[in-house]
Amino acid sequence: MKVLLVEDNERVTRFVVKGLQEAGHVADHADNGRDGMFLAASEPYDVIIMDRMLPGHIDGLAIIETLRKSGNRTPILILSALSDVDERIRGLKSGGDDYLTKPFAFGELLARLDALGRRAQGSGTQTSLRVGDLHIDLLSRKATRGARAIALQPQEFKLLEYLMRHAGQVVTRTMLLENVWDYHFDPQTNVVDVHISKLRQKIESDSERPMLRTVRNAGYMLTDDE
């Protein structure tokens, strides 16, 4: 993926650029709003990471609004130290696609970037999803693995659907909380992990190949790969 990072803090920039390169992405960066705007408008990027408070009292949201008005549809992840729920809503309203508060874990950023980049390439509305021999029908809300039918609670179905839509990508606990349960807080107990292990028991019987992996320090990944 080709990523543009608009961020004025040198250390954060170094950390993110290095991390992205290690993950196999190409990263450009701009340390002010004017350069960021110029790069975003002139080069094709898969994802843009936009800091909110930029030098010269420029709010990243203003740049996003300008980009969107000029017809640029590149997915944008807003990176900000402003954590209020209201600020988050403002960020998404201005045309951002996701919002991540500083300080953040790199794994979280990478997972969200993957989700955004993949989304942009996605096809239209689907009525069923398939990963290996795991299949779900979104209309009848039925799940099967090979010939075996899997009985799922509505919540488990939602969780599996989200994981399947992001198959092959790491999804973090926070992403699951926000998107499956619509929760914007951090439950102190490992509730998400318990949900995952319950789902894992249902979709992976003893004779079947494991599909739902735990990625250390990051989250989970549903994959058909060996």
């Binding site: 209020d84 729920v85 996605g122 992403m175 807080f185």
Partner: protein
Amino acid sequence: MMNRLLRSSAFTVAFSYVAFGMVALVFFAAPLWYMWQVTIQEERIEYLRADTQRMSEVFRRQGAPGLATFIDARVGMQIAGERILLLTDSTLHRLAGNLAEWPVVVPLEPGTYTLPINLSSKPTRAMFVHTVLPGGYNLLVGRDLALFAPLTTRFWYGLTGAVVVLSIAGVLGGFMIRRAVLLRVDGIRQTVQAIVHGDWSHRLPTKSSNDELDTLARTFNGMLDQIEQLLHGVRDVSNAIAHDLRTPLAELRSRLEELALTRPGPEEAFAEIDAAVVDVDRVIRIFNALLRLAEIDTGMRRSGFVAVNAADIAKQAVDFYLPAAELKGIALSYRGSGPAAISGDPVLLAQAIGNLIDNALKYTSDGGAISVEVQNLPDSRVRITVADNGPGIPDEEKPKVPNRFYRGDASRGTPGVGLGLTLVASVAKVHGGALELTDNHPGLRAHMVIDTGAGWNGAARAEPAEASTPPQRSASLGTESVQPG
């Protein structure tokens, strides 16, 4: 001294009252004066007419010479100047009386007149009744008004005296009131000064009189109590922050310093770095919780209130925590009596209910039970209850639990930062309610009693679709990154 006196509010008040009293006195005296004047005037005319009547009678019986004799006799008996009497013939030739000639100012037509005149070559005012008797005789009966002057003077003396007495009484009263008020104001000033200098044990002196100053003092004392409580709160918070943030920070610091000093092999170094990140995450978590609390406490989130169903939120929270409860061998159940419509912030309510369940899970042991209940109370309030049968909280600790960073003895050694219930209390407060902790015999019952808010009914009726779907605000938050792609 004079300046201070004039600036004193008590003196100003007293002075204003005196001035007002004087104006009132004038307004009171003016009609009195007028009535008195009119009455006396009529009385005088009546006297003069009666005199005239009597003399006409004498004239009728004894003719002009008889009247002349009568008048001369009276003039002789009279104290000089009290009555003015004059009888003339039709040519104004004097026949009898104590005037030398007909006064030119008096008109020749009969009638009653009040006129300036010279009497014994002294200018004065006099009142006359002029009668024309049969045969053209002119009878003039009059009275010098200067004789009444002392009476008028006495009236003005009286009025002046009243004004003087009023002024003196007012000024004295002003001084006395000022003294009394100053004494109490001084007491207040001294107390406030002591408080400004940091001694919070002082309170304004109050009496049982319940007068204005007393009410004011009581209000001030209430405010001081509140401020003192807040100060204690701030001190508690800083102590707690010092403890809860410093501990992981100290750990982090020593970890990093040790790394720099010992320069261990890569394997050990990476393990230390991972541990350092965990320390930082803990600090960030406390920090986020504090920011969230500040965000709620300022009440700004109220702008994000929408019509929500508290029962749905609670049910979803129960579903969310169910697997975790099962894993611990705890029976988590939801009991509700239908929908509970309130005007609120779904994000905050979910977090508050989540925190309560989380808390209950933490303190309930294997085989325990937690029930979540949502009830519509008759007084248009909704009660969300999370009850467990864990160890509970001792009664004396219950009021302290929602305090920031408060952690009961039982919770030492368990994970958590001690802000969970504080957040629940803040969320309840921002929804016009409160967090109440009671005993579950055994265990804890945490009630969040919330005002349903006025906005719901209207909103539900106007947009019935919105009431059944998740509120827009949270939907816009959540679905942004889930859109199928």
